[in-house]
Amino acid sequence: MLKIKDLHASIEDKEILKGINLEVKAGEVHAIMGPNGSGKSTLANVIAGREEYEMTGGSIELENEEISELDPEERAHKGVFLSFQYPIEIPGVSVTNFMKTAINETRKAQGKEEMKAGDMLKMIREKSEMLEIDRKFLSRSLNEGFSGGEKKRNEIFQMAMLDPKLSILDETDSGLDIDALRIVANGVNKLRSEDNATIVITHYQRLLDYIVPDFVHVLYKGRIVKSGGKELAQELEERGYDWIKEEVEA
């Protein structure tokens, strides 16, 4: 599904990612953990194609196709989805209309016809129920005045609507209380299949109790310094990151 080789990226001439190698196969969930400032969010944004980050070396392949030259919307059309750590408020654009535009623009790019209004409504109903989203809030302006939990639930709702191949969840657990965390994790788990893959970026192990990863990677100073199974997350929870730092510095 996703193959990242020797990825280097910088922002404003400061190198953040210093040679990342990562392979994510269909059906897998990978967790990327690491202390603050290690480059986790940068990695998510670079995969999604944010222009402010300059990719200075390496390659990103999605289903054996190089995507690093593509615009963010083209990557989205090919099935990349980024759940934002801080979803943006867009006053004046309702959640429903935003989704409708996103889905139809994607379908257009894929050479498909626009989705019929009835089908769209049915899907919106189904997915919003899955994430226990109040219907009233679908006609509100996107993320405007939403609580932290509502914003994150709304991100996963968008993910459910767009049905991506590769989902990257950037700190989706931050700002969530335990009930919202359970709802969001259930949503993500229901969307998992043999044909898609998920990268969960998180600082804490808590989310990984609900979304159980197949692999855990530790990112530190722009490199993946340790990889392992889900037990690595548990170990990080117990021992913190210092021992990893020590191992790396040694």
Binding site: G49, I88, I90, N104, E105, A109
Partner: protein
């Protein structure tokens, strides 16, 4: 020959064609003298500091169209809000077109300024209202001196006009450079209601300059809903002077949508002359290239317990220039008023300009006055967010810009106008996405 000299000789020609014994002609003579004294506003005048009219007035305009123009309904249909059943007052090169107009009515007067100015039947209204409100500056004087035609709308007491009245001025381009002086008078009686749509539209590439004057009187408890749709050809310029007087408990809402034209100057003056008036001045400007749009507004609160709301949202691309000069004047007696002014601008390009100047002059001590002015760019984070959901950059920008302007559209009461404006905005932004937000 300078523009001023041309005006004097043209006035003599005008006198051969009009009844010089009327009250209106008396006003014309006075206005001509006043124009001679004041002339065309210069940039050294504060009110025209950011808008130069020089290049507009150094052209050799024809003031009287010589030929009758054969225009059919099909030619003008795209410019009408044709989905709605409306009264229509259509002018072609400044001349009323009876076959394109639709003014059948019985309870009130929708007719022509030419007949109103000459027919004694209308003289009580003309003498009471005509030229009473328009400012007496050079350009309005020029209009008063030459105005012969326009819409005359007079509505008595307790009448709700059931259909909107659409007033459209077309220029055919039969003259290579034409200057017109449309003149509208709207008198709305106590407890009456009316909706009016005004538009100036050129049908060719030729140079057109329109110097339009409109006076609107809203009596007690009257409600006036007025829309100006400015989407003219890029060789057409418009200087508009609209003045509104409100009596107690009246509400006047005026929307200005400025998308087209080379240079557009909107002088919009509201005078509240009674308690509990509500004035709403809303505008959306979206321009590009070398277009220039200037909104100069005045809200004069002369009575207590009134409200005024101004909301102008503007988007400038390329080298477009905008001016917003919004003045709120609160007299000492006008206690307990609430005056609100909001002017938000987006500069899409580095070379676009907005000159924003809010002015508040408050002589009362127990009032609420607030104003806000912002100038910004499109939010890059929001653009990336939308792109990451599969919305192309162009569409994402358009959606953001539409969302920005949308709060003004929400106050449009005629659904057909709202959908027309929405389509115009989509077209202006070069996208095909629907904006039914």
């Amino acid at each position: 020959m300078s523009f001023k000299d041309k005006i004097l000789s043209s006035f003599i020609a005008l006198e051969n064609e009009v009844d010089t014994e009327t009250y209106a002609h008396q006003l014309r003579n006075e206005a001509l003298a006043s124009f001679e004294e004041l002339g065309i506003p210069q940039r050294k005048e504060e009110a025209y500091k950011y808008t130069s009219l020089k290049s507009l007035f150094n052209k050799d305009y024809s003031l009287f169209p010589k030929k009758e123009s054969a225009i059919e309904y099909g030619d003008i249909k795209p410019y009408l809000i044709h989905q709605i059943d409306a009264y229509r007052v259509i002018f072609i090169d400044g001349i009323y077109s009876s076959h394109l107009s639709e003014t059948t009515h019985d309870k009130f007067d929708v007719c022509l300024m030419s007949s109103a100015l000459n027919n004694p039947k209308y003289s009580p209204v003309i003498e009471a209202y005509y030229n009473k409100l328009a400012p007496k500056d050079g350009l309005t004087s020029l209009n008063t001196a030459f105005a012969r035609e326009g819409a005359y709308i007079s509505i008595g007491k307790n009448i709700a006009v059931e259909k909107p009245i659409e007033v459209v001025y077309f220029s055919t381009g039969n003259e290579s450079t034409l200057m017109t002086q449309p003149r509208n008078l709207v008198v709305v009686g106590e407890n009456s209601q009316v909706q009016i749509i005004e538009r100036h539209q050129s049908l060719s590439d030729n140079q057109v300059l329109t110097n339009s004057v409109t006076e609107i009187f809203a009596d007690k408890r009257a409600m006036v809903d007025y829309y100006k749709i400015q989407n003219d050809h890029l060789n057409a310029s418009l200087i508009d002077h609209t003045s509104v007087e409100q009596k107690s408990d009246s509400e006047v809402r005026l929307h200005t949508f400025s998308f087209g034209g080379a240079l557009t100057r909107n002088n919009l003056n509201f005078y509240q002359r009674g308690e509990h008036c509500n004035s709403i001045l809303n505008g959306v400007t979206i321009i590009e290239g070398k277009q220039h749009v200037d909104h100069s507004t005045l809200v004069h609160h002369t009575a207590p317990n009134c409200e005024s709301y101004q909301q102008y949202k503007q988007i400038f691309d390329d080298k477009a220039v905008g001016v917003f000069n919004g003045k709120v004047l609160v007299d000492k007696v006008a206690q307990k008023i609430n005056a609100f002014q909001q002017n938000n601008n987006i500069l899409v390009s580095d070379k676009a300009t907005i000159n924003a100047k809010p002015q508040l002059e408050i002589f009362a001590d127990d009032v609420r006055c607030s104003h806000g002015c912002t100038i910004g760019q499109l939010d890059e984070d929001a653009l990336f967010y939308m792109q990451s959901r599969g919305i192309g950059k162009k569409e994402a920008r358009a959606l953001l810009m539409f969302a920005f302007a949308n709060s003004v559209l929400e106050s449009v009461k005629i659904p057909e106008i709202k959908s027309r404006i929405t389509k115009l905005i989509a077209k202006k932004l070069g996208v095909e996405i629907g904006f039914d937000l």
